[in-house]
Symmetry: D2
């Protein structure tokens, strides 16, 4: 099966890029997964942005540290194909994994949040995913690691090497050029990159975000506007493993 | 002028890749700058690794948070073209910037360390570099940002946009796919990537590094061995600005 | 001169304790300094809470990391005896030090914020205060260190030992039992403690604050209510140095 | 039963204070528990320092983030009454809890490490201790929280209020003045304080530790020498709960 994973969709610019570009790509893929944690003005997923991402072609929406920024996410997590990080404590609304089916095969998608440099103190991503892999029945597994540290993403990759089909990172909003395969065949890319405004600081409006660095005082965050980029990664899953991992980037025309 | 910047050279594998590949590339460039903070077994710069990097073609060696890991660096910082981060407190050995000359033009190279997620509490990279740019005479300026957070690297890029020729990130050891230009012409790439062992966790031997994550106890760090990658970025500086930024990666043959 | 320093006044409970207890104490002191960063419902200083603290007897109000939580602070910083941390970047509204006078002598009060474990990246508290001490004319100096780490507070104490009269810590909201003198005569106490609700998590309402730990999701913070404690430290300054440091705690009667 | 808990014993000075003062106190207590994580020159527990603490009167030694600094701890954890934090991942050597018996009653002692501001990413201290309390049979429970943040210590206190007899904090090396009781009867003190050299930065030699702050470069850590303080907290456990909590401090005579 062919799977497209679209990186953190950020605000209006990201939604527009997804709406413009994703429908063209959609027919090439069996499944499309989109990280939507920044779709509502950079902060969270609302019913409106959920619907837009679905209409653009998403089969499953994933979240991240911004999961809880918009209150409507709670309802979406109950009834829609939307997941938050799997390694939240017991009692967390929603689910952290999902089974997608295509061509009679099952793709397990799990998201974990990293522990390094994140303010959240979530559960051990190594052992929690270990347990999940033992419980679930699937043909392919895709682990999304929403995190900051490259070391942690590679540590998870090597730990699950040969046991999951692919590991894709999100959260830094910058596409990495390391897409490849580990020793036992697991595909990996440190970060899929952002689908959002090009002229920005990782999606945020430059003036206000810069102010935070320059003043060290809290600033009101705004999403940037203007031309968008679309960052995604294609995975080909066949014969029990990932056989191709291809990052892509498309820039909105002027 | 044409400048090549080689990302964090890590241990024996990194030195070998530099020695194998850099001499071939050298004739294409006026200047070669190499980040050598991990050249001595992953930790610091020794006289021996300094000499190897220079023999491979480096005109200037930069460091990072691992600057002080090997004691010989103190002597090198006194007498050789080696710089540590510019935003260390007053009284720090060595310099944090350097002027390289080629074709009758002056290239100012400055390294700063980021403040976000780094254990060091260095000085404000915005204002310290502001002051340096006001003092120095140069035709082109290259700012190396040794740091973790993509937001901070882009914040610095936009802040200095139009005032420096290029910003290149280091430290995450993963090459990013974002090389491009900001609105006022400054070239930027979030991370040049590592020159070091492919089969590793950002250069470290997999078993011992994984142990740190799995046990949360201190583990003795070892540099990984095996085939190396060479990550570098080419900058073309002409007519007062950067006109091309081209990341490259070369993998050591089997 | 005799000086009373009142620790972080937190919300309604803290204001009530200050209003009940401080007027009784006031006649014993030449000067009263109050940390008011949490006086407005736990977050910031408003005109109303400023006025209440002044009416209760404060000569000078200090802030902290919560300095900017209430927008009215900007006006107060312009015209009233209110200071924020001294080691904010250039261009920050307000001042970070203040001269109070009593009995014909000048007391320099400076607040710095620590760098360890704080999300803000403020300027080097060692060198910025060094420079201030060299510039200002004073008989006594009181350094308030608003910070988390005990090591940093003691490092600052030993660095300025003999050059400042006293160092008082704030921010952890828990009074420490270490009040004493360093080798060269500077008085020190790691934390003055909070003036706020006893039945709380450092001032915050227990249910909502606990929720943050248990869910690792953002929770809406509320100030706790109920009986308050009043934590303060008395300093006796005479003959050019601090001759007594006496922490005190008073609990609101049932 | 009467229990004495001695705070982080630091290096030679701490061992000397324990050897001088603890034997005098010993007859007043049924049980003596000592945090020994810094007993070997500030770093870890060795066989020699273990033996000294036992000879001075300790029934049980607890550790902390410095647990693994001395390799002999592994053997001690296997065969002696020594515990490390309970919330380490599965597979960690040793145990994180211990049952002590006195007067026919069982005291459960558990240590957890905090998650806030600690570099280690240990398991959820709330749920792991929840599970332990459900499993074990005991008359009294003492929870030692080895951590930095006052908020986390109070959050744990309120969470377990009425279910454990007492919560004692360690790790900051500064005794707090907050010893008291929570609403449902659990005794709490944020930090017991250090048993170690007075003229120091939380136990470390002033010059070298200050150097770390002033240079932001790694410095070789040394334990301070000179007169020691002894910090401990007494708990009276009777009728199913803690009826008294009394911090104490003794300073070594000149
Ligand atoms: Fe994101
Ligand atoms: Fe994120
Ligand atoms: Fe590096
Ligand atoms: Fe680095
Ligand atoms: Fe406060
Ligand atoms: Fe504070
Ligand atoms: Fe300790
Ligand atoms: Fe500790």
């Amino acid at each position: 099966m062919r799977v497209l994973f679209v990186g953190d969709v950020f605000g209006e610019a990201g939604l527009r890029a997804a709406a413009m570009h994703l429908p063209d790509l959609r027919p090439n893929y069996d499944l499309v997964i989109v990280n939507g944690e920044n779709s509502h003005k950079g902060k969270g997923l609302s019913k409106a942005t959920y619907r837009k991402l679905r209409e653009a072609g998403a089969d499953l929406i994933t979240l991240g540290n911004h999961a809880w920024d918009h209150p409507e996410v709670l309802e979406l997590l109950e009834s829609e194909p939307v997941i938050r990080a799997f390694n939240y404590p017991p009692g967390t609304p929603g689910k952290g994994h999902w089974i997608l089916e295509a061509q009679g095969e099952r793709l397990l998608v799990v998201q974990v949040m990293g522990q390094v440099y994140m303010v959240e103190n979530l559960y051990d991503p190594f052992r929690t995913v270990d347990a999940l892999l033992a419980e679930e029945t699937f043909d392919y597994a895709l682990l999304e690691v929403h995190g900051e540290a490259t070391s942690e993403k590679y540590a998870l990759g090597h730990y699950f090497d040969g046991r999951i089909s692919a590991l894709l990172g999100t959260h830094t909003h910058v596409q990495t050029a390391d897409a490849g395969f580990l020793a036992k065949g697991t595909a990996i890319q440190c970060d899929v990159g952002m689908t959002g405004p090009i002229h920005s600081i990782i999606g945020g409006e430059i003036g206000s975000f810069l102010g935070r660095f320059l003043t060290q005082r809290p600033t009101r965050f705004k999403a940037a506007e203007g031309r968008a980029m679309f960052c995604a990664t294609e995975l080909v899953l066949e014969g029990g493993r990932c056989t191709a991992i291809r990052p892509m980037r498309w820039d909105e025309p002027d």
